[in-house]
Subunit: 320 residues, 2 copies
Amino acid sequence: MNHDLPDLAAIREAHARIRPYIHRTPVLTCRTLDRLVDAELFFKCENLQRVGAFKYRGATNAVQSLDDESARRGVATHSSGNHAQALALAARTRGIPAYVVMPRTAPLVKKAAVAGYGAEIVPCEPTLQARERTLAEVVARTGAHFVHPYDDPRVIAGQGTAVVELLEDAGALDAVITPVGGGGLLSGTALAVAALAPATRVLAAEPAGADDAARSLAAGRLIPSCEPHTICDGLLTSLSERTFTAIRAHVSTIVTVSDDAVREAMRLVMERMKLVVEPSAVVGLAALLEKRQEVPGRRIGIVISGGNVDLGQLPWQPAR
Amino acid sequence: MNHDLPDLAAIREAHARIRPYIHRTPVLTCRTLDRLVDAELFFKCENLQRVGAFKYRGATNAVQSLDDESARRGVATHSSGNHAQALALAARTRGIPAYVVMPRTAPLVKKAAVAGYGAEIVPCEPTLQARERTLAEVVARTGAHFVHPYDDPRVIAGQGTAVVELLEDAGALDAVITPVGGGGLLSGTALAVAALAPATRVLAAEPAGADDAARSLAAGRLIPSCEPHTICDGLLTSLSERTFTAIRAHVSTIVTVSDDAVREAMRLVMERMKLVVEPSAVVGLAALLEKRQEVPGRRIGIVISGGNVDLGQLPWQPAR
């Protein structure tokens, strides 16, 4: 198997490649939250990225990396989450087709979002086997290029560009903390920070109900999630060998958080920072609020990964 | 009566004075909204300002303008809205007392917010007369300095700093549109733009149910609101002679919008831009969406004035 990982040069190239298409998202601060966690927090707001998630960086890098000949046949993926929307918009921006394999049971609102960005949805039965077979059929039929949600060095390089901007805007940081699901964002962040700011520690947070990354890091071998259960719908996936390789090399700590802590962190970010965030986006802040793990230093960067949440079904009842 | 208005020098001085205390809020863009209104929109996100509203600029300028001798006795105001929170935090930041006269009937959540910033709440009966008498008593008893929510040149100068940053970050604009209630934000914006970018037109939007500014501009004389009714709880107040003077001189158009258009604009901004906004904040966007008024040019700045909204009572049902 090929477990290539991008180096700093690849992340820099990705940044130059995607810059015309992405938002340079702001780095925001909040003194109320600083007081609560007794630190200085710098929030990199990828919920304000196009399609509402950092995933647009990696998808755009993958799509814009293709030569014209490959690009013409389009791109394909299987996802019912932010990567599907991101790939759909990245493809539309380049003027090429996108095929997204989604289970028939996926929520209508997610299908509508992907279709709204112009992708062709290819339905499949809701099993891993059906999903992979359907994707293989789509690729065989169309010649489309498969873009994995995270197990792809171009995707990882794209996700790594967010922390490059964070370091540029916030200055030196003692630590950076990101969510971890499949590990695309975390491995890209870890590789960029190791090269750009080796004194800055990289941590990650994940839901206790989907803690494959914490268990894998502790065991020193890949332990996939088994029936993950959490409100963090973006963090259900398990690491790949590729992302785990980068994480083992560069990530010091993976903290697990309860769904209750995630709800509280969401409420605080929406009420105090006026940002719409999805549950997965605030696991890093939740980890700091729970204080179950000492975080080194005072200047801490937090990547807010996305904001795609159903505002009619917020997972908490705001204080009145 | 003294109807002093700040000139550009006063706005520049205010900016220098408040810069250490305020957030430099980001200017964000959204291609989905650009397509909907067929223009290029530049959103100045004062919902991301401290206390969640532009009001912190004016309140901070007023508080930081006081000499030490006056400041020691504190500041006072009557308000149950964002100005009260803004003045409370501005006073706490300078380490001086703040007294806020609020009707006994004000929502608990608003009292808690003001008290949370350390102000002393002075209750009064819910009438204009009781409010003014109570404020006069507070000022007589404490020697506190009264800071009006908008009828004050230092407050107007502070509010004018938002558009200075917007012009710096967005570049040349064909038009700028702000909400108008008492006219502090609008007059500060109009005075700054007239001096800095005389080719840029200044427009305002207000709810049809509180349209004193539109009627006043049309009549050429001040016509106060009479029993205003709208979901835009920040825009119920009427212009003062002072703010009307600036508005008559520099504002080309005041558009009125329906509460339904405000609900739709809120939904779009929260779902597509991932920003928490209060109803008053989106009247400008609502005006563009309703297209009842031709807005000149393509590059349009919109001041998003605040984000203090009860997330448990959003005034619309999000699409599912």
